[in-house]
């Protein structure tokens, strides 16, 4: 393996002839790729069941572990949302659900879905599986740290789940955990529950940092020969930028969690003002509750893009492959991802317009928020233009991509409403906000995840998922989630507040009782449809249609490993050499409608292939 590695003094001739030896045989300078800079990676190969499947150092296994754990917590989040909709739609039907449990379910649903499902699944799951394969590395650069990262995440999930079983139950403060109410007795779970939540978040941040350093360094420092940053699939770009955001944003959450747990445990007053609880003056005094909101959203807004950017990247690749067309404006797409990532650190307080912060901030944050819409809109145009005159294959993956596009535009446009201070003030804390963020960072990324699983399932298992079940799954999920969230915009406009346990006979509700019940019914159906998907996965694992080596005829490296599904070390004896971007579909004059990234230029000389 290490004969690929040259000292820089080796002469040019020797390098170029060696490089070509893997190609077609016609030696020419246009196929020259720079020699290897970094010696080949040493890997620890597991031998026993434990080192191969449990404490495994193979990024692919770790990715699957992350995915399974995240999906498991996601199912719990889904069941919690069922309970919530049960209470909201049919308050009398389910007397076990008290206001306390309702708030606990709201809190856990939010935290699970945002952090433990979406972040872990996109970065931990897809990141681990795809990054080394797509950039042509043998594994993550620090496999051991990577393994520890997963197990930290696992412990974080266990701690979070444990809070369901402690006295007082999990915290019911809402996923934003705003003090002072988080720590006051009236809030459910203000004892052990909130402590477990904070510990779990701190563990998650530590574990994620270990993984995140791996992803970043693998992408920056361990790409294969010929793989420039501008030849990486957009999936990798999305995950890369999101990981950087996470590494820089999670510290704020970590600090907030430490300070709040000190407020709880030691009675410090970082966030706690002078306050009276049930007629009794508490020991606290002089703290700044708004500081927590700033810390939380300094993390929280980048977090939105931590979820969105990998989805942007993955959907770009899926659209390109299944429309058989190069992605429109690749470089613009890359720079848009980077710009969104950078600007996302300067928009956080648009979540706080009604919080009592300095009123001057509204100008600043409304402006930056509208600016961030520009690169986002560019991306949407480019997706549409990629589809334009493409050879669109209407399979399940493409359906999910189209579903994403529509949903994302919907959620994005309501975001423009909420980004403007004057429009936000009447709309904040209504169902309009719920509809907005579920559309834009709930449904849209989940549709991408589902599409991505249909797309990469043959790579991971060697079998297809069932198309027929998949179509049922898609249409129920897509139409169902629109039935849930579209009416919510209207509920918001008529002033129905969010986070109310029951609406009773309030005047705005009487006109919308039926709609509210309809939303609940739709939620039950959409949730149930996800079990079709789980059934599909289990069924296809056993008896799914066998897939060829590169079933979608894609160009990116992950489909070109010697073994499919890829084994530990990914590439066998020789690392791949990359000569082009991964989007050469339907190139005029080419023999087939796709040119893999590994095809040297001399093989496609007479085609209209672009220089990338």
């Amino acid at each position: 393996m290490s004969e690929d590695y040259y000292d820089s003094n080796t002469s040019y001739k020797a390098q170029s002839s060696e490089t070509i030896s893997s190609g077609s045989g016609s030696v020419s300078d246009i196929d020259y790729v720079k020699p290897k800079e970094v010696p080949d990676q040493e890997l620890y190969h597991g031998h026993s069941f434990i080192t191969k499947y449990i404490f495994c150092q193979d990024a692919k296994v770790i990715g699957v572990q992350y995915t399974l754990t995240a999906v498991f917590t996601g199912i719990i989040g889904l069941i919690l949302s069922w309970m919530m909709r049960m209470q909201l739609g049919f308050p009398e039907l389910f007397p076990v659900l008290t206001s306390e449990t309702y708030y606990q379910f709201v809190t856990m649903h939010g935290m699970i879905m945002v952090v433990y499902l979406l972040t872990a699944l996109f970065l931990g799951g897809f990141g681990n599986y795809l990054i080394p394969l797509m950039v042509g590395a043998r594994d993550m650069v620090f496999p051991y740290v990577n393994m520890v990262s997963y197990w930290m995440f696992f412990v974080a999930v266990l701690v979070l789940m444990a809070s369901f079983f402690v006295p007082g139950g999990p915290t019911g403060a809402g996923w934003t955990l705003y003090p002072p109410q988080t720590l006051l007795e009236g809030t459910p779970g203000s004892g052990i529950g909130i402590m477990l939540m904070l510990i779990s978040l701190a563990l998650f941040v530590i574990g994620f940092t270990m993984g995140g350093l791996n992803y970043v360094i693998t992408i920056l420092q361990a790409r294969t020969r010929g793989m420039t940053l501008m030849r990486m699939p957009l999936t990798v770009w999305g995950i890369f930028t999101a990981t950087i955001l996470a590494l820089l944003a999670f510290p704020a959450l970590f600090v907030g969690a430490i300070m709040m747990s000190l407020d709880k445990l030691l009675g410090t007053s970082f966030f706690m003002p002078t306050i009276i609880q049930a007629g009794e003056m508490l020991e606290y005094g002089g703290g700044s509750p708004i500081l927590f909101q700033h810390l939380f959203w300094f993390f929280g807004h980048p977090e939105v893009y931590i979820v969105a950017l990998p989805a942007f990247g993955i959907v770009s690749d899926l659209i390109s492959v299944h429309a058989r067309k190069n992605i429109f404006g690749y470089r613009m797409m890359v720079w848009a991802i980077v710009a969104i990532g950078a600007i996302s650190f300067f928009v956080w307080a648009h979540h706080m317009y009604v919080s009592g912060m300095s009123p001057w901030f509204g100008f600043f944050f409304a402006t930056t928020t509208l600016i961030i819409a520009i690169p986002t809109a560019m991306k949407v145009y480019n997706w549409v233009l990629t589809l334009w005159k493409g050879n669109i294959r209407m399979n399940v993956v493409m359906l999910f991509c189209l579903g994403f596009l529509i949903t994302f535009v919907n959620g994005g446009i309501t975001g423009l409403f909420l980004g403007n201070v004057a429009v936000d003030v009447p709309l904040s804390d209504t169902y309009f906000v719920i509809a907005h963020f579920h559309m834009v960072m709930g449904i849209a990324p989940v549709l991408v995840i589902l599409g991505a699983i249909y797309h990469w399932f043959p790579l991971v298992t060697g079998r297809f998922l069932d198309e027929k079940l998949g179509k049922w799954h898609f249409w129920i999920t897509f139409l169902g989630s629109y039935s849930i969230y579209f009416p919510m915009h209207y509920l918001g406009f008529i002033g129905v507040p969010r986070r109310y346990f029951e609406m009773y006979d309030s005047p705005y509700m009487t006109s919308a009782v039926g709609m509210n019940q309809f939303i609940s019914l739709a939620a039950f159906i959409v949730g149930a449809a996800q079990f079709i998907f789980l059934f599909n996965i289990i069924k296809s694992l056993k008896i799914g249609k066998l897939a060829d080596k590169n079933p979608w005829k894609a160009n990116s490296l992950e489909w070109y490993t010697p073994n499919v599904p890829p084994v530990h070390g990914n590439w066998g004896d020789k690392l791949p050499v990359v000569h082009r971007w991964p989007y050469d579909y339907n190139v005029p004059g080419a023999k087939e409608d796709f040119i893999p990234q590994t095809t040297p230029p001399s093989e496609v000389k007479d085609t209209g292939v672009e220089k990338t």
């Binding site: 000292d7 820089s8 003094n9 790729v33 720079k34 290897k36 800079e37 970094v38 010696p39 040493e42 620890y44 650069v141 620090f142 051991y144 740290v145 940092t209 995140g212 350093l213 791996n214 970043v216 360094i217 920056l220 420092q221 361990a222 790409r223 294969t224 020969r225 010929g226 793989m227 420039t228 940053l229 501008m230 030849r231 590494l247 820089l248 944003a249 999670f250 510290p251 704020a252 970590f254 600090v255 907030g256 430490i258 300070m259 000190l262 030691l266 009675g267 410090t268 007053s269 970082f270 020991e283 005094g285 002089g286 703290g287 700044s288 500081l291 700033h294 810390l295 300094f298 990359v578």
Partner: protein, 237 residues
Amino acid sequence: MSEQTSINNNLPQGFKGLTSDFGSDQTAFKGVNWGKAMMWIFLLSDTFIFSCFLISYMKVRASVVAEWPYPSEVFALDVGGVPVPLLLIAIMTFVLITSSGTMALAVKYGYEKNKKLCGMFLLFTALGGLTFVGMQAFEWSKLIFHEGVRPWGNPFGAAQFGSFFFMITGFHGTHVSIGVIFLFIFSRKAFRGDFDTGKKGFFTSMKSDYVAIEILGLYWHFVDLVWVFIFAFFYLW
């Protein structure tokens, strides 16, 4: 991977080098070892943690209505009955900067593959760090037992003074302590010659290399760097 550095001589420099590095294949940071790149990015993330601590401190201190205790007096040390302001802190700063200097020399001798001097300077650095932690423990106990400063309140003024003091110096002290542990381990490894023989690590089963000293050095200098900010913002401000 130290051979990598020879490649760098042929590359463009300055901002031209910036664009050519990011436009190139394989690596974006030319000649930077994986572990070193990881440590830099980790330190960037850690910088955000300490920044968030200090920003919170600034925000709360700016908005408390109660009187903020005067650090110059709180942290004074009696020498023969005369209170000398910030004496202990000055000595702690001295010790930490000294250890940073010995660490720089350890890195230098590490690169020269001089295992004796490298190990010795690592040991000096570890001892410096240990002294620092010891003095911090002394400072804490003095504040707690003699001055009556508690995380939740103090006799001098705003309660947040003690809260932030213990939290920030505690977090920094944790960093120092972790560094000291690793310094002792690496000093032993250097004396034993692990970095020359490329002995495999106990946990990661990766080969030892002198670049590990530089990585540890980055961490140690970062701890010193954070102290510079804490010194300025907490003791002098």
